[in-house]
């Protein structure tokens, strides 16, 4: 069992409080994505798990071992870096074998593992090459194979796809997903790309300014954002937050904001009871649907509507939030369940 338990981890660099008491329980064999904007502390948290950075306070447990004060080599983790960090003076074979050789694995085992993971990552024809003779995507494959070859308890990945071009990223993402699902290694993956997070993760931890706002299944994160921040970070365009003076119907006690996704409106082109008459500012046709930004007395609405609805900027459109999609938030931005 290689669950990871992070308890009350804090980290500051000088006056900058990068992590403000983070706790996280990552289940055995789960793929967890740490998602957040740059500077939210997600990479620092990953590096603390790896042992490349030391926490100011708090403990890290991998399995039932407390590893908080162990050096990286003693934690039995493997890491894939954003810039791949493939050793340029070694062949692909030696790169993948590196971790096993450090552990003094028998030569037969080294050879077997290198071949197994090289063919898994489709680089078995490149084993004699040097990093300088590889493309970015191939280097990335080497880095992943090198990490998997040591059969770590935990695999850590720090924005591994962000240096690849868009098409390759998509392809690698799909491939990573199947490889990691097959390897069943507990994985922590850092990214700022919400689509990557949604598509890869078993569970997403959304981080905001040194805290974890929500740690949940991707669907839950999308449909029930725990905080206003999560709602406004996930989704493209993000959730609408509508102030109380526009509310129609019952408002739960303590609620100050209504959160509603752009696609969760009833839309009408003619005036109806309990509909907001909004003024369309811009319209973008996106193929599968149309995206509107609209306004009512200073409140901005972002709305996705079907292609069939005929509306131009300047027109008035009538909107009503779907009852079962309404999410209510308190003054401090917490969801009311």
């Amino acid at each position: 069992m290689t669950a990871i338990a992070i308890e009350n981890v804090k980290k500051s660099f000088g006056d900058a409080h990068i992590l403000k008491s983070v706790s996280l329980e990552i289940k055995h064999q789960e793929f967890t994505v740490l998602l957040g904007p740059s500077g939210c502390g997600k990479s620092t948290l990953l590096r603390i798990i790896a042992g490349l950075e030391s926490q100011d306070t708090g403990t890290i447990k991998i399995g039932d071992r407390v590893v908080s004060h162990l050096p990286p080599k003693a934690r039995n983790v493997a890491m894939v870096f954003q810039n791949y960090a493939v050793f340029p003076h070694m062949t692909v074979f030696e790169n993948i074998a590196f971790g096993l050789r450090m552990k003094k694995a028998p030569e037969a085992k080294v050879k077997a593992n290198v071949e197994k993971f090289a063919s898994l990552m489709h680089i078995d024809h490149l084993l004699e090459r040097y990093s300088g003779q590889l493309s970015g995507g191939q280097r990335q494959r080497v880095a992943v194979a090198r990490a998997l070859a040591v059969e770590p308890d935990v695999l850590l990945m720090d924005e591994p796809l962000s240096n690849l071009d868009a098409l390759l990223r998509l392809q690698m993402r799909a491939e990573l997903k199947s490889v990691l699902a097959a390897s069943k290694t507990t994985t922590v993956y850092v990214t700022h790309d919400q689509v990557e997070a949604m598509s890869l993760a078993d569970r997403i931890a959304v981080m905001n300014a040194g805290r974890i706002d929500q740690y949940d299944l991707p669907d839950e994160i999308y449909t029930n954002p725990a905080t206003e921040y999560v709602g406004s970070f996930i989704g493209n365009p993000p959730m609408n937050f509508i102030s109380p003076e526009f509310q129609i119907g019952d408002v739960p006690a303590g609620a100050t904001q209504l959160g509603i996704r752009p696609e969760d409106f009833n839309v009408s082109t003619i005036a109806q009871d309990n509909y907001w008459p909004i003024k369309v500012l811009t319209k973008e046709r996106l193929g599968s649907h149309q995206q509107l930004s609209a306004e009512l007395n200073g409140q901005l609405f972002r709305v996705n509507i079907a292609n069939e609805i005929d509306v131009e900027s300047g027109n008035t459109l009538y909107l009503q939030p779907k009852d079962d999609k309404k999410r209510w938030y308190t003054e401090s931005g917490k969801i009311i369940l």
Partner: protein
């Protein structure tokens, strides 16, 4: 404009472009030739003079191709003390190389990888050691060396030479290490290395061409240094000190022979490591 006129104009333009290209080419070739001869010509004269007999050296006109009269060289090499001085020079230069790389590499690594208070001041102070001219330092150094018994030893002299070479060793190696992504080391740590193993297995091989270059530099600094060598050694003179003291009254052709012996090892050494400098993996890191 008719088609014909247009063609004529086009042709004119192409001719002009060709001319410009030719002019650039000439400038490039002549510039290169000038710079090469700037280095090569003095060496050529030295070689010709060292390999000629006394009459030819002092006579006029000079031959373009040396006559390869080995008499002067043979005389010089058999001159009492030359071989010892040559050996001393080599030993002092190797000591200097070892000391300045041995101390300069860790210092350079620390400058490249660690944040510590006074880092920039330290960087400046390193260079400051070069601010004091050797003649100013030589006498007090000689006194101190006599007091602690380091006078007239090659080790003592190497310490002085290492002091001259160290600033460069530190600064060159630190920029070398800065050019090696820290993620490579971190990857090695995660894969089971401690700091020292990661340095030996990952950083060192990548830094080797640069380390070699900076070692050669230390070697050449020691090999060429005259003043400290002349002041601090008496019986264990290096070649430079020996040449300064013994050959000042020698005939011209012997001086040329001495000069040749002095530059040959440096040139050879540079040629040997040149391969190292450029060819290891094309690009040092990435």
């Amino acid at each position: 404009m008719s088609q014909f006129e247009q063609d004529a104009l086009l042709e004119k333009e192409m001719l002009a472009a060709n001319k410009r290209k030719k002019a650039w080419r000439w400038l490039f070739i002549s510039g290169t030739a000038f710079m090469v001869s700037w280095i090569v010509f003095p060496i050529y004269l030295l070689v010709v003079s060292a390999l000629s007999s006394a009459e030819v050296v002092n006579g006029w006109p000079k031959a373009f191709v040396p006559e390869f009269d080995m008499e002067t060289m043979a005389f010089f090499m058999n001159y009492y003390g030359v071989l010892d001085a040559l050996k001393n020079s080599l030993i002092a230069a190797v000591f200097t190389m070892v000391i300045s790389i041995g101390l300069g590499t860790p210092a350079g690594y620390a400058l490249a990888r660690f944040e510590f208070r006074g880092k920039n001041t330290f960087r400046l102070l390193i260079l400051l050691t070069r601010a004091f001219p050797m003649p100013l330092l030589a006498l007090p150094l000689a006194v101190i060396f006599i007091n602690i018994g380091l006078d007239d030893t090659l080790f003592g002299l190497s310490l002085v030479h290492a002091a001259l070479a160290l600033p460069f060793a530190v600064l060159i190696t630190s920029s070398l290490f800065m050019g090696i992504p820290v993620e490579l080391e971190e990857a090695a740590w995660v894969l089971g290395c401690n700091r020292w193993q990661a340095f030996v297995k990952v950083v060192m091989p990548l830094a080797l061409p640069g380390l070699t270059a900076s070692a050669v530099f230390a070697f050449v600094i020691s090999w060429n240094e005259v003043f400290a060598a002349a002041v601090l050694t008496i019986n264990n003179q290096t070649l430079t000190a020996f040449l300064v003291q013994s050959l000042s009254s020698s005939p011209a052709e012997v001086k040329f022979a001495g000069g040749l012996i002095l530059i040959v090892p440096a040139i050879l050494f540079l040629f040997v490591v040149r391969k190292y400098l450029f060819s290891m993996w094309g690009i040092a890191n990435r």
